[in-house]
Symmetry: C2
Subunit: 317 residues, 2 copies
């Protein structure tokens, strides 16, 4: 399995996701501050992966005898809106200093186990020889390991049920092209990269057996916020009769949020759409760059969790 996060007790080594797939460089963090910088600078990304990294960061501070209040503060500030980060830090603060390294390892192991359970549950839904469509990056790189929607791909591949993965490039930030394609190539899982707008042709031609996506937040009624582009794929899948599965760690369910209308949508920088890295192909033009969209529950075939399939509660809708 691809590795991207190694915790030795005195250091946290992170595969630098900003340079993938061209360069495999490891960033070595020895303090909580180092880890906070790595999170802020996007060396590591993906909510579950950030949670694991932050836990390791606090454990580093504990092992060094550093001030834990200060380390907590620095780590919480590194990505203020990440729910998993706060959860992981709080879990570490509940144990004594000497037990923190073990607790960080436990959080990492548990995240991998959750993803493997999601993967196995989802893989059982796929037909033999499945050709699946995957959006964004939901893999090892975004989690402790194995991945959520890409965990379903990994489980299906391991079980011999998977024929092929269509990798949507996922403009504007290109997580599919840069990260998912990299993961699949490393593990020799058969895949083909496409522009996002090719999805309709593939479904029309009967070349997709299921769409697999992750989620950033699921409301009580099942409305699902995920990477921009998810809603369009769900409408296409419904039109062409293709099952549409959301891989959902139970931690992503927000029971206090009644519907998708209450989920705020982050807008990101125009530069992501005007070009990539140093290359600019559309200067000056106004840009609308929402990071997520909300897919109504009615367009979703099933939510796949570590505890089996989830269904929205009837009184929530």
């Amino acid at each position: 399995m691809l590795e991207h996060l190694r915790f030795t007790g005195s250091a946290l080594e992170l595969l630098d996701q900003r340079l993938l797939p061209a360069t495999e460089r490891w960033v070595v963090c020895r303090t909580a501050e180092d880890v906070a910088h790595a999170i802020t600078d996007m060396v590591v990304r993906g909510a579950p992966a950030i949670g694991v990294a932050a836990a390791c960061g606090l454990a580093l501070a504990a092992a060094r005898g550093d001030d834990l209040e200060r380390a907590t503060e620095v780590l919480l500030a590194s990505r203020p809106t990440a729910v998993n980060l706060r959860w992981a830090i709080e879990r570490l603060r509940a144990v004594h200093r000497g037990a923190m390294a073990d607790e960080a390892r436990r959080i990492h192991d548990e995240d991998i186990a959750i993803n493997q359970a999601i993967g196995d549950c989802g893989a059982a839904l796929l037909p033999e020889g499945a050709r699946v469509y995957h959006h964004c990056n939901t893999g090892t790189l975004a989690t402790g390991g194995w991945g959520t929607a890409l965990g379903i791909v990994r489980s299906a591949h391991r079980d011999g049920r998977l024929a092929h993965v269509w990798v949507g490039e996922t403009r504007p930030y290109l997580q599919g092209a840069r990260l998912t394609a990299y993961e699949l190539l490393v593990e020799r899982i058969p895949c083909t990269l496409i522009a996002d707008s090719v999805a309709a042709s593939l479904m029309a031609a009967g070349r997709v057996d299921a769409v697999l996506v992750g989620c950033d937040r699921v409301a009580a009624n099942g409305d699902t916020a995920n990477k921009i582009g998810t809603l369009g794929l769900a409408v296409l899948a419904a039109h062409y009769g293709v099952p549409f599965y959301v891989a959902m760690p139970l931690s992503t369910l927000d029971a206090r949020c009644p519907t998708g209308a209450q989920i705020p949508i982050e807008e990101r920088d125009a530069a992501e759409v005007r070009g990539h890295r140093d290359l600019v192909w559309a200067a000056d033009v106004p840009v609308f760059n929402p990071a997520f969209d909300v897919t109504p529950a009615a367009l979703i075939t099933a939510w796949v969790t570590e505890a089996g399939l989830w269904q929205p509660s009837p009184d929530a809708t």
Copy 2:
């Protein structure tokens, strides 16, 4: 109006579309060979624009006293599958050498008039204060001038009916981001650039009153081949009840092609998807890069031509 093609009788000056929007450089062609190179190298693109350029190229050869057989051959070979190119060349060969420059100018003027007729017809379909979604580049740069689907935008803007244009970037070749955004900025038509996958959110939020696209080939039953991504937009528009209009010069109708199933789809180079220009973000991964898709007639609200709205003949479907 934006200019991109100037014919002086002794030279054809072309705005170099490869460098837009960063640089406005004009390429000066003095021979048929110069024009053929400009077409092959994508200095000029878009079927109607190529037809006009080729006519001017042959007129240059005529004015210089060059061998017209050889000039015809070189121009026809510059983009072998372009229907408008062959049609324009044949039209020039039907007049005598001394009349060729005038005939080339006439072809150019006629193309602009056709586009303006399409624009005026389409604009009348839009509501007051229309917010339209446009895909690819179908504007002045792709035609003799004014544009087809973007001609509808121009006519609506001139008539004060247009509030806003959503510019789909049109991966992988980014004709929307590079060319359509440039044209609209030059003419101060209000617009916003988005990743293609934002279209679903916009329609779901009721922020699109009509989708406007061009076409590369329309079958007798109305099935419409156009830039990849068109089919997905048509499915979304149908789902959300948004009118979906195809701007179609009558020259694009292929009456001998019964349905979309008979339209071959060109596949282009993997490099277009793996990166842009010299920047590569996804080396090695297999790529599927179809240039076009086919939208079934049932998903199209109307075809807008220079002679009014067109409807597929009942016996063709």
